[in-house]
Amino acid sequence: MTNRPDERRDEAENSTGTRSTERSLLSRARFLALLGGGAAVAFLGTRVLSAAGGWRINTVERPTPRFDLEDYRLVIDGLVERPMTLSYDELRELPAVRQVSDFHCVEGWGVDDVQWDGVRLQTIIDLARPTSEAGFITFHSLGDVYRDSLSLQQAGLPDAMIAYDMDGSPLTPDHGLPLRTVMPRMFGYKGAKWLTRIEFRSEQDIGYWQERGWRIDAWINA
């Protein structure tokens, strides 16, 4: 058997005892290092969990889209009588609502009692005045990689909104700064983040995940 040098040393020390069990299996330094390492890993793990606050970040775009809020514009267009472009400040001047609702992800996790500040989608509908052909709304994320859609009836539900604040502060980049769709009665993939365009259409758009086999109407079964 070829032993590594430190093992030979360990065994040499061992052989001085009358009984093999007189010596600990681990040197004190190794034990303390192991204990410290284990505690650090456990601490890091719980930090990661609590920092996330129950959220898991999902995106299909890396790196996370970043906006200069000065240059940000929300475009509302398509089959509407009054297309418009809003700056971030103008967006925050629209009639605002605050709601507390639960968030459910299709992956099986959820976050209860999220406080959202923003604008009812019904308010946007009333402002833009969709034409009679319009039946659906497509929400476009920055770069137009991610999109999802709702019918006008779904968007008119009393808890459907676009939100710029979460839990009392502006959205973080991971959560969709500056603006995201909030649709509490459906799974979270319906809530496009980094919202740049709200487009009224006559037919329902097939969203990013629906192209990959997910349901268009993502009602939560609980």
């Binding site: 299996l25 004190r28 992956e107 099986g108």
Partner: protein, 225 residues
């Protein structure tokens, strides 16, 4: 006195520690566990998590597929208990006595720089027994919660979303808390000089006789009659 050439040196130097069934149990559980831990951890890096192959997020998919395979592995592991050698090892793990308390006491005293004579350790020391119980508990808990999450991955209409959401944090928390235990286990088995000989036992099934005499003297006594 003339010494005869020792023709049995090779076999005398080594002693059989684990038969095939016990080693199978270990690796049937350990191999998927490590893969599941790695694929599961991608949840905390959005870029990795977003990696897709053919419109499917590949790490989530792998996690579920390996998870169901691990379930099959666990069933195969349980079937190994029909073998006497595996049952004997399980009984040795479950054989808890005052000596196990004394073993921890001895380790604590010597680590603190004191002198102590510990108990004569059998096939498993008390630390190994605790590791086995904790690992088995974590495995059962992760497989149990994982079944719910895996089925929910396939179909959202089996369980209520609220039930799935109550299971999800347990799965994550148990997995994260087990990481230090696993790292400690790996350290002792692979790196720590005085204990790493044990790795041979779970891979090749044999360990050095002199190592066994130092670390598991009561077991070796039984073996040698």
């Amino acid at each position: 006195m003339t010494r005869l050439p020792d023709t049995t040196a090779e076999s005398d130097a080594m002693v059989r520690r684990f038969e095939v069934p016990t080693r199978l149990v270990h690796w049937l559980l350990a191999a998927p566990f490590v893969l599941l831990l790695l694929t599961g951890l991608t949840n905390f890096e959005p870029g990795l998590k977003a990696t897709q192959v053919g419109g499917v997020r590949v790490f989530a998919w792998l996690h579920v597929v390996i998870g169901f395979a691990a379930l099959g592995g666990a069933v195969l592991a349980l079937l190994q208990l029909s073998r006497r050698s595996a049952r004997t090892d399980l009984e040795a793990l479950a054989d808890v006595s005052l000596d196990d308390y004394l073993w921890f006491q001895h380790e604590a005293i010597t680590l603190a720089g004191g002198r102590s004579i510990g108990p004569r350790v059998g096939k498993f020391n008390a630390g190994q027994k605790v590791n086995a119980v904790v690992s088995a508990g974590a495995t059962v808990a992760l497989l149990g919660t994982g079944i719910v999450l895996g089925i929910n991955y396939v179909s959202k209409s089996v369980f209520d979303a609220s039930f799935v959401e109550s299971v999800f944090p347990w799965h994550t928390t148990i997995a994260l808390l087990f990481i230090p235990v696993l790292l400690g286990h790996l350290y002792l088995a692979v790196l720590n000089p005085s204990t790493r000989e044990s790795l041979q036992g779970i891979t090749r099934g044999i360990v050095r006789r002199d190592w066994a005499r130092r670390h598991h003297p009561a077991w070796l006594d039984d073996l040698e009659g």
